[in-house]
Symmetry: C2
Subunit: 215 residues, 2 copies
C-alpha cells in the first residue's frame, strides 16, 4: 500500500478514529456513514473522507463504512496488530502510572521492565515488575527485544539516557522528560511535554477571559 505522503497531522488523528470505531464496535454498530461519524466526532464529514482515503478508502459511496473492517485496518496501520515490548526508565509516580495502565497491554504494548538509578527503589515491585538498576538496561534491551523506551525521568538525566538508548539500537522513545532529544533519524521520538500542555490551557483560558471582558 502506498502511504508515503501522509502528514503527521493525519497520523495524529488516526488514534482518535480508532477510539471511536472501537466504541461503535463495542456498541454493536456494524456500519456508519461519514456524516454520522462526523456528528459523533465533531469534525467535518469531508475531513473524515479525506483522512481515511489516505489508507485506500474503506468506505463505499452511499453505504457507509464497515466499522469492524475499518477498526481492524486502522489497528494494522497503527502497528497494533503486533506486540511491542516496552521498558520504563524512571520508577516515580508517572512511570508507575503508565505501567499500571491496563489499556496499553490490551493494545499490545507490553511492559517488560522498569529501571531507576535510585537504589532505594531497586528491587521494589511495581505491578509484576521489579525495579532494576540502570546498569542492567543495555543487556535487558537486547535480550528482551525491546522496541520502545518510556522516559519518565527529569530532564537533567534524560539526554544521557537517550544517548545510551540510541547505542542500544532502540527504535522508539516515548519522552516525558521536559527536554527535546536529538537522536538519529532511525529513532522515533514522541514527546509528551506536560508543562507545555498546561501552559497552552492557561493561555486559552486567559485569552477567553480577555475576549469576554472586551465585549
Amino acid at each position: 500500500m502506498e502511504r508515503k505522503e501522509i502528514s503527521q497531522a493525519v497520523i495524529s488523528r488516526l488514534p482518535r478514529y480508532y477510539r471511536y470505531l472501537g466504541e461503535l464496535r463495542d456498541d454493536g454498530v456494524e456500519r456508519i456513514s461519514s456524516q454520522e461519524l462526523s456528528k459523533k466526532m465533531q469534525v467535518t464529514a469531508s475531513q473524515i473522507r479525506q483522512d481515511l482515503n489516505h489508507f485506500g478508502g474503506f468506505g463505499q459511496q452511499g453505504y457507509g463504512y464497515n466499522v469492524e473492517y475499518l477498526y481492524v485496518e486502522i489497528a494494522k496501520i497503527l502497528g497494533l496488530d503486533q506486540e511491542h515490548n516496552l521498558i520504563v526508565i524512571g520508577a516515580g509516580n508517572l512511570g508507575q502510572a503508565l505501567l499500571n495502565y491496563s489499556n496499553f497491554s490490551r493494545r499490545g504494548f507490553i511492559f517488560k521492565g522498569i529501571f531507576d538509578h535510585n537504589p532505594k527503589l531497586q528491587g521494589t515491585k511495581i505491578g509484576e515488575l521489579e525495579v532494576r538498576p540502570m546498569e542492567e538496561m543495555s543487556a535487558f534491551i537486547t535480550k528482551n527485544n525491546i522496541d520502545i523506551a518510556v522516559l519518565t525521568i527529569p530532564k537533567t538525566g534524560a539526554v544521557k539516557v537517550a544517548e545510551k538508548l540510541v547505542e542500544c539500537n532502540i527504535r522508539a522513545i516515548w519522552n516525558f522528560a521536559h527536554v527535546d532529544l536529538h537522536v538519529p533519524e532511525w529513532v522515533q521520538v514522541e514527546n509528551v511535554h506536560l508543562s507545555d500542555s498546561l501552559m497552552k490551557l492557561s493561555y486559552n483560558s486567559s485569552r477567553y477571559q480577555d475576549i469576554k471582558n472586551a465585549k
Copy 2:
C-alpha cells in the same frame, strides 16, 4: 495588544519558546538572533520570526532578541504572570505524579486540592494535601477560587464529572481521561490522550521500518 487571529498551532509552539528562552536566561545569555535560536530549536528562523511577530515582534533587525524581555513577555501571554488554582480529580498514580511535579508550582500553577471517590484513599495525604471525597468538590471550587480542574480518572466517570465541573463554573479542564468532553465554549479543555500518543509513536516506528525494508 491585538492577538485575535493566532492559530492554535502558534500557541502550541509558545511553551517551547518559553522553555528555550528560560534555559538561555539561566545560562546568562542576554541576546539571541533568530538564526541562533533557529539552530538551537531546529525550526526555521523564518518560522521563529513569524511566530514571535504575532505578539508585536520583540526583535530588532540585526540586533536579535532580548532574551529576558521575550521570556517575560511570553510568560505574560501564556498567563504565567498570574497564579492559577488547580484541583486534581483522581488520586491514582497519575494524579499523584502531577501533584508532586514541582515545576508546575514554580510556574504559578498551585494545587489546592485532590479528590477521589474511593473511600480508602480519602483522608490519605499526597504531598501536603489530603484526599477529599467527591461530594466536597463543588463547594471547594467556589471557596478556593479554582480555575483549572485536572481530570485523571477513567473515561467511564469523566463525562459526569466534567458536567459537574461545568455547573461549578470551572474555566478550564486538563483532561487525561481517554474521552472527548463536550463542554460549553467558555470552558477550555486541553486533552492529554496518552494512548493516542503511544499509538502515533507505534505508527511512526513501524512506518520507518517499512520504508527501510522497502529500500
